[in-house]
Amino acid sequence: MTSWIDVSCILAVFLALTILATNRIVGMIKIFALQSFLLSLVPLFLHADAISGRDILLSGGTMVLKAVLVPTILFWAIRHISMRSEIKPIIGLGTSILCGAALIAVAFWVSLSLRLPGKLLSSLVLPCSLATMLLGFMTMVTRTRAITQVLGYLVIENGIFLFAISLYDAMPVLIEMGILLDIFVAVFIMAIVLNHINEEFERTRGSASRAKWGESS
């Protein structure tokens, strides 16, 4: 069923690109949720012939964590911090799309000479995961809001997840590490949300008479 994997890889990259091109936080979160959902299906595609309990556990867990939990937290955060939904990217959307395209090119160019060993999966896994990572990275670079940067980071993390999945049975350990990263991200997000509130608190105290902390200047 490698074709499904191919499709999901391509879609993942495409969605990452759209996130890069979106300028409404809500939209970004939704797209991200979609992407995570897509990726969480990959383990199932992976052994479509004989789906093991572990696969289901993995995909289910991922789905819950990434496609449901994280977006919810983010929505909650937006609501609590009366944050303008408009984002002014430091690089214009058009430019950032072009950069994104360039990054995709780089990713594919890099992975020209690299073939996955062992039981061959789709050859798209490496370039796509790289591309997703770089796009996420690009999102972090171009957006000025803490929350959107978190989104970018989540996209990176999705890229990694995609790659980890493909190594699934080659290296069982790595999955656990990926999950650790997820936990890390969760804590990370909590930290941000807390800090957001904390920052609001400080600002009402008037100690921070500077630009919005969210713009992390």
Binding site: I90, V106, F137, M140, T144, Q149
Partner: protein
Amino acid sequence: MEKILLGSWAVPFGEFSFKLDPLSLVFLIAITTLILCAGVYGFGYMRPYRGKKPLGMHAFFYLILALALVLIVTANNVILFLGAWEVMTLSTFFLIIFNDEKSPVRKAGFIYLIASHCATFFLFLMFFLMAHAAGSMDFDVMARSDFSPALAGTIFLLSLIGFGVKAGFLPTHIWLPYAHPEAPSHISAVLSGIVIKMGIYGICRVLWIMRVLPNWCGYVLLMIGVLSGIMGVLYALGQHELKKLLAYHSIENIGIIALGLGAGLLGRSHQVPFLAVLGFGGGLLHVLNHALFKGLLFLGAGSVIQKTHSGEMDHLGGLAKTLPVTSVLFMVGALSICGLPLFNGFIGEFIIYFGLFQGLLGLPLHGVIFCSLGILSLALMGALALACFSKVYGTIFLGKPRTGLKGSSHASLKEAGDLSGKSTAQESACREETSKWMLIPMMVLAGLCVWIGLVPRTVTGFTFFGGAYLAHVDLSTIPLEQVLMPLTMVIRMAFLFLALILGLIMIRRLLLGKAPMPIRETWSCGFAQVSSRFQYTSASFARLIVELMKNALLLRRHGGQVAGVFPGKTQLSSSVHDASEEMIFGPGLAFLNDFSKKLGHSRIRYTQIYLMYILLFLIFLLVWKLK
């Protein structure tokens, strides 16, 4: 005594070993003498600070400095040398910023620290190149190995930069005129007498290690000597502040030393051993002499400043009456630094001159040209130094006090205005000399100056030995009598001269008889209301020379315009500015500062930019490494 190994000591990186060779010996003599005298002087000089300042720390760093100096000249190992070098730099720094509440003092200390530290890094480079070529970190092993001409030249240049900063060669001398005036006087004496000589020592050491150097090295060293010497004394002429003037004179004398060493190097590379020995020997002798008389002068300046709380020459005057003994001692120093007969300065310069004349008769054409250049510049330096010190002595010790100074032993303006040459009450009230602690060391130094001037053979032995050691020739093969005989003649003439002076004084006594001389006021061509402000100031004294050189000295004049039929009060002041500071280092540092400030302001105010750097770096690596 080719060299005495004083022993060695194992450390992480190889072994520290000490040795004492003729070269070290000369410097060791200078160090011990001046450190002792200045130390004793320090007792008296620091007395007013007792209780107000941590004098213990001062003394501590002074002793550390002494230790470091001895270590430097006896080190036989690169690491030990560099270590001692750093310790010297630091302890000197702490000694300089004794009065750290004054911002000029801090500035001076900072500039000193920066300059020497940057220079030290050049030394690292140089010594590692050496060690790399020689395959050892020990000097005597290095000396046994031979270097390719290109490498030798590079090392030589590096040493000129690295040691030149400490020695105060132009144009890397800028720290010197800052540090010397701000430090306590006995420290300035040590600074100028010994610390800058360590730069000379380093260069000598390199010359000794590099048995074979390209011919151009000699010329370069000679030219540096000429440049530093002449510019140094010219800047000195332009100064109004006593200790700053003395500082510039140290640059001049360093120039003379470099001239001698350069001549010696010429002789060595052209196989004229006599010239080599004379040049090196003369240079080393001048090292010793300069340590003595410059130390003496700085100590004298110290007593003047302690008495009058001012080093501004144009405010002083007539101190010969207030400080009779100091004035005589200062006179001795002045005579020696001008290289006048009967005093040690003359002996050193005589030997260098002699060597240069030998070069004149013995070298190929370009050698002749450079030697005659050397002779001429020596002559010019001599004449200018004479002008400069007649100015210093005349303005400070002679004539009448120009202004009344706060807490000073001077007639106030009004009293200075009155024409009776008799000292005012205020003056006579506090007409006492400086303390014994300060006088005795100065006397010792002055005595040594005269001693070397009248019995030079006592030291020329050492210095010529050192010279031969540097020239890598056997002293017995050198026709040394050719220069020692003239020296003896010079001494005989000196004694004849003294005898004649005695005789003339006798005659004068005879003619004048016992009757007391009538004392009148100075004849001022019938002009009545002469105030002591009418006297020639140091600036006006030096004016003719300074204006001749005004382009080289960046002379600036402020005010002085008279307007209208009945012009009101106007004032004219002129100042001389250091070209290498104004044109090279100042702008350079300013540029660096602005650059970094700009970056600092445009410093990434968004986290995104941080991330972008990382992304770009990642992509750069990917593209660069995964072709």
